[in-house]
Structure formats: C-alpha cells, structure tokens
Subunit: 454 residues, 2 copies
Amino acid sequence: MNERSRLIVIGGDAAGMSAASQARRLRGAEDLEILALERGHHTSYSACGIPYLVGGTVNSSDSLIARDPATFRRDFGIEVRTATEAEAIDPDRGTVTARTAGGPAVEEPFDALMIATGAVPVRPGLPGMDAPGVFGVQTLADGIAVRDVVDTGRVRTAVVVGGGYIGLEMAEAFVQRGIEVRLIEAASEPMTTLDPDMGRLVHDALLKMGVLVHTDEPVTGVETGPGGAARAVATDRAAYPADIVVLGLGVRPDSEMAGAAGIDVGPTGGIAVDARMRTSAEGVWAGGDCVQSLHRISQAPVAIALGTHANKQGRVAGTDIGGGYERFGGVLGTAISKVCGLEVARTGLNETEAERAGFEFATVALESTTRAGYYPGAELMTTKVLAERTSRRLLGAQIVGRENAAKRVDVLAAALWGAMSVDDVAGMDLGYAPPFSPVWDPVQIAARKLAETV
Amino acid sequence: MNERSRLIVIGGDAAGMSAASQARRLRGAEDLEILALERGHHTSYSACGIPYLVGGTVNSSDSLIARDPATFRRDFGIEVRTATEAEAIDPDRGTVTARTAGGPAVEEPFDALMIATGAVPVRPGLPGMDAPGVFGVQTLADGIAVRDVVDTGRVRTAVVVGGGYIGLEMAEAFVQRGIEVRLIEAASEPMTTLDPDMGRLVHDALLKMGVLVHTDEPVTGVETGPGGAARAVATDRAAYPADIVVLGLGVRPDSEMAGAAGIDVGPTGGIAVDARMRTSAEGVWAGGDCVQSLHRISQAPVAIALGTHANKQGRVAGTDIGGGYERFGGVLGTAISKVCGLEVARTGLNETEAERAGFEFATVALESTTRAGYYPGAELMTTKVLAERTSRRLLGAQIVGRENAAKRVDVLAAALWGAMSVDDVAGMDLGYAPPFSPVWDPVQIAARKLAETV
C-alpha cells in the first residue's frame, strides 16, 4: 500500500480552497493529506462583497465567508492553518517554510504544492501612503477595518484614489453611508478598463449621484496630521481633506516567493502556468490572482485579478492534483459592476488593448432600451462592440446602463468564447418578451450596426 | 433608364414591414415602389405586448404600434393599404388579387412579392369555439377587443384554454385586473415547450398566484347562453363558468394562399424558404410566422411563431430584394416569458424534441441563486441543460425562476448558436459581481454538473 501523500496549499481563498476541495473530491483523506496555509484569519470569502459590507447592504462579515476553517476541517478533512505566512518554497526538496503568528519558522514537506498567494494592492511609493487612515481593499480584514472606521460615525469625507471597479464600488458604499466622497483618477476618465467614451458615461453618472470626480489628476501623496494619520490627499493641483482614504489603484500578482524559488514568472508579473495550472516546477501548481492567464482574443498572457478566474483555475488545479483531467480555457477579462443605479460591464478587448494586440478593427457604440420601449421600467443602456476587419470576428464589448443592462455582456462573452463574428451575434436567436428586452436585443442592435460598417 | 419595379408585401406586421423597410433602405423610391397589403387596421405592432395591454401595464394600444401606415408613407415612401385582404397569388403572371374593405377584387401586378401572412390561431373544431366571448389573441385587434370586454367591468371569471406563453401571460393579465382565472391544459403540465419537470415549477407558481389550474383535462367545447355568447368551458370532467374565454392553443402558419398558388409548403405547414427567404417561386419571398425555418440543433424544419424570427427574416428578405446579401442562420426556438413574479425561458431542444431528433443525451436540472447568496434580492432559479453524449455538445436549456433568472437563457442560446459543448459553457468567462450572480453563474453550475455526468 502506498503512503499517503501531502498537498500544501498556500493561500486560503478562492483559488487555493477551490483546488483543495476539488482535490479532496477526487482523493479521499486516506490517500491525500491537505494542509492550507493562510496568512490572514479568514478562508474562502467574497472579496467582491467587501464594498457591500462597508456600505451596509450586507450586515455581517460572516455572511461573506463561504466556508470557514472549521468547516473545511469537518466536511472536507482539510487542515487550515490561519495566521500562517509561507516564507519560502523549495521545489527541489519539496518543502515550504512557514511561520504561524510570529512563532518559529517551520519547514513543511509536500508532495504537491498549490500556490494561491493572490495579489497585492498597488501602493505608489508616495509620501504618506502607508499612514493610518489609508486603506487598501484587498482582504476581508481590510474591509472589516474600513467598516469599523466608518461605524465610528466620525468619517465625514472620504477620498477614493483610483476609479476602477473597487474604487467605484467603495465610492457607492460611502455615498450610502452619507459620507462626502471624492474620487481621484489619473486618467482622462474613470473605469480605464473601458474606452474613454464609455468611461465618460460612468463619469456623468457618478457626478449625478453626488460623487466629486477629479480626472487627469495624479495623486502626489497623502498629507498626515499631528498623530501621523491621513488628513488629506494631495494631487498636482490641490490637497483634499479626507477622514479616510481608500486606494483603488489595482493589484499586481503576488508572485515574489514563487520567483525566488526559481519558478517561472511571466512578463505580466504573474506566475507562468499551463492549461492544467502547472508551474515550471514539477509538482507545483498555481492559480488565481498570482498567475498569468492566456487571453483568448489577444492570445497574449495577461494578469487580471478576478474571482471568477480564481475559482475556475483552482478547480482545474485541484482536478489535476486529484488525478483527473481538465483544462483552463483562458480568459476574456469579463467584468461587471454596479454603482448605485449604474451598471457597467466589459469583456474581451477594448480599443487600446485591440490596438496593442495588432488588430485592425471597427467599433460601434449604440444607445438602446433594456426593455420594450412601451414597457414600464425600460431604461437606457449603451452598448459598444469591437470587431476585426476582414474576419468580422467580435473582439470585445462594453456596456454602461441602468437596471438590467450589464449582465447582457455574458452573451457577448459567450460569442467571444466561441470566436463568433458580429454576424453571428446579430443573427443569433435570443429571448424576447417586452419585460426583458426590445424585439432586437440591444447587443444585437449594436452588432447589426457594426456588421454594416466593419 | 430602367422602369421602376414594384414590390408587394402581403401582411403589414413584423416580417412584412421589416422586409419593406430594409428593401427601401437599399433601393430608393425612384427605383422601387413598395405596396403593403394589410388585412387589419394596424401595422408593425408588438403582438407580444397584448397581454400587457389587457392587464393594464400598458395603457394605450397606440404605444404597442412601432410605426403606423402614415409613418411608413411619410418616412419610408411605403404605401400601406389597410383593411385589404389578399385573396390569391399568381406567381407566373406576377399578380396578387386583393380586396379592400369588401370592395371589388383588384389585380395588382408585382415584380417582387413578400409573403408575410403570419399565423392563424388554432381553434379546435369543437362546439361553441366561435361563439361571441371566445377570443384568440393573435392580432392587436384581438387584444383591443379583449381589453374592451374587460373594461366593461362585467368580467368576473375568465377561462384560458391552453397553458403556453400566451395563455400564461393572459392569465397574469386577468389576475392583474382582479378577475378569477382558470387555466385549462390538456397536457400533464402547463408550458409544454418545457419538459414536464420544469413545467411543474410553473404549475406551482401559477397556483401560488391564485390561478386555478387544470391539467390532463382536454376541453370538449364552449357552452353558450341565451344570446349565443360563451357561458362556460366544458371539459371531459366538468363545465366551468366563464364570462370570457381566451384561446391560447398555439398557432399554425397561414400558408394556404401560398400553397394554392403552387408555392412549396413544407411538412410543418410553413412555406418552404431558403436561407435568403426565397420561396420556390421566382421573385417571391416569405418570412415570419407563415414560413418554416431550419432548427440549428435538430437540423429539421420547424414552424415556430416568434417575433424575433419574424423581424430577422423580414430583414434578410428585404436585403435580398434590395440587392444585398444576407442569410438567415436558422432558429433555436429561444423564448422567454414573465408571469407575475415568475420568469420562464427555453432554448434549443427539450427532452421530447431531442429524442425525436434521435439524440442520445443527458440532462441536469439544478437550483441556484440569481445573485450572491448574501446579497439582498437573491432569488431561486432552476436551470435545466441537455447535452449530447460523446460530442458533449449542448442541445438545449430551460430556466424557471424569479427576478433576473430568465434572460440568462441568452448565454445558453449563444452557446447553442456556436455549437459549443457543456465544457465550453462551464469554462467560459462570464461576468460576476454580487448584485448580478454567484461567482459561478447558475448556467455554469448546471453545465459543470452536466459535464460530470454526460
């Protein structure tokens, strides 16, 4: 009889615990020991739910946790060691050096290793960025900390630095808590994952909901008060008072430890993996925000931090570790967000990305209604689509609109996944009833228009 | 210089007027004369909006009309002759015999003919089916008539015969008007376009909203009162009092006149057309409810009456008539409906249809939530998916759920359009944010489960 082998997972969130759970489904506890090391105190939580916790839409941080360490132990036979930082990997010897709660460094042997270290928020090297009162919003602990500060009732003004998804959602959360919010963005429009013409629509909507928006205005630092805490955010134009500062400047893959261990890290800064989530080191897998993925449209590696990717990649890695067969099909960068009444979505390549990938393409942006025009609750939405010249293949799409607008991006994501053309999108047989859409769905109206010009 | 040629369109609704408008876009009035013959009084209206007119969600029948005859004349240079019945076609001579408002029969010459005669409601040859008080709900005139009767305030009980989309939507309309509604269906469950297990969910929801539902109960006739008007609906079990009776027994293609003219009619009863919507007769096109279409999954001809198909087919025909090039890609039978808080959708083949088409397949039906479980407003939805054994290709899908459930069928319709597998659906990069879906979209959870068993 074989000895039991041992899987170590570094990182107890989406990718790591998906991998652990899937490996367990395929290999019982008598065959595979699983140990997960998590530097924080929480496992498998919805990081995307943090803004709703701060805003008060969700009351308890517990409800954001899908499974806690006790559940993993009890129901899956997976040991989770929290407050435990992995410090080094030795792939050749098959060990991870880890330290629990400031205790001594311990060397843990593994037969299989899953690296799911996630991402680290970008913190520009500017004065005051690490001051108390300046928060990233990456972990549940960050979210709880921000909520605790807001709950004191002493926050009257908030500055959000960076106008991406997390920045916008945090701006909404502060608005809901009755706090004056200022959003500062270095680019010409917020939501730089959209093209500027679509970002402009988001900008207008933010202004309407009372957010003070500054664009083309790079932050130069955080000014601190007597106690050393953040007091204002400085830009090249002015200093804006802030009782709290939230950084929404994006994240980068946390791949340092892997790189130091000699595991290949790609040009994106993400760990290089194959379609089965195997790294360059034998017996070492990786997934989630710490890896780079193949973009299905540009065919280039990208590092896009999204929970959807992390969950799917974790599952694929777990299948492989468990002796099964599954491949990760790559990403489209489909993302979707709700900011007060506004819905924003994107998939595939935007104009900048399409240019960088060397595509010749045409675009159409078109306003339509979310329901039959005569049906109550019909709202406006703008759909932008990009298609390659000659092949007429869809390259990407963006949607900005009101209720029931954004999730339509999934149709375009499915079309991108299948390498379909604008003619396919215009011709496909989508569902219609007056409460749901006009007889030509907005995404089809846009595709039809693009088909005439591409 | 060539003489101006003449297009006659029979039928002034979706397919007919889409064809006329598209032909006009490609050929100016100096080149092409366009005459549309419409037996009713309305053009280009939303037949799918009729239940909302009756229920009071939509106030005026005018708001269901996209373009009236005056608009076609003024903005498109298209002449519409309403109250005009086409009686015969002579493809060889190139003439249509038509009669306006009971006047004399007039022979109208054409160079091109577009047949868009639509569908006729199925009226079983049973006693009393043509009595006053028994309504089909096919044309806007039908809808206005039903609304007028309801508006008298004298309708206390309504019986809807047939539990398809239109039957359900009419039941909702009557519920909204405070009328006691009885729905009588001959099959084992309502919504026979779904499998019975999914139809059962609709059945339960109808009961909860107070509709009296009878299944497995074929109607045997309509009983009439002293004045000859409908008084009750009789079945093999009982007679149910009814102040109004609505027939929702489906429709069949109105292809008689075309058949009489020697134009090929297919086994479905629909006019046979190619992908450019050309009939067997030179210079004669057809589209909409009167034709049969190629089902993309079964590869068999089907006659499915849907406005989405009609609009697309009309456009293709108009492009061809106008000298352009476009093909109609076939249908999936994607349909979607809302009945009070319940949403119902289907696409592709259901189990019965898949069996008839000779597929070996597996199915999964799975309950999930429409949003992240912790996000307010998360509702339950059941997704059923069918996939072919061996090829693992998706064959069809059905959804029954609450708010934000049904329109997800479009993702599956897109996957069907692209002949994708369950693995594609499970792996594709869909949008996620807590207000919109769980991190694995419900359609992906179902596909993933099916991928494990097919």
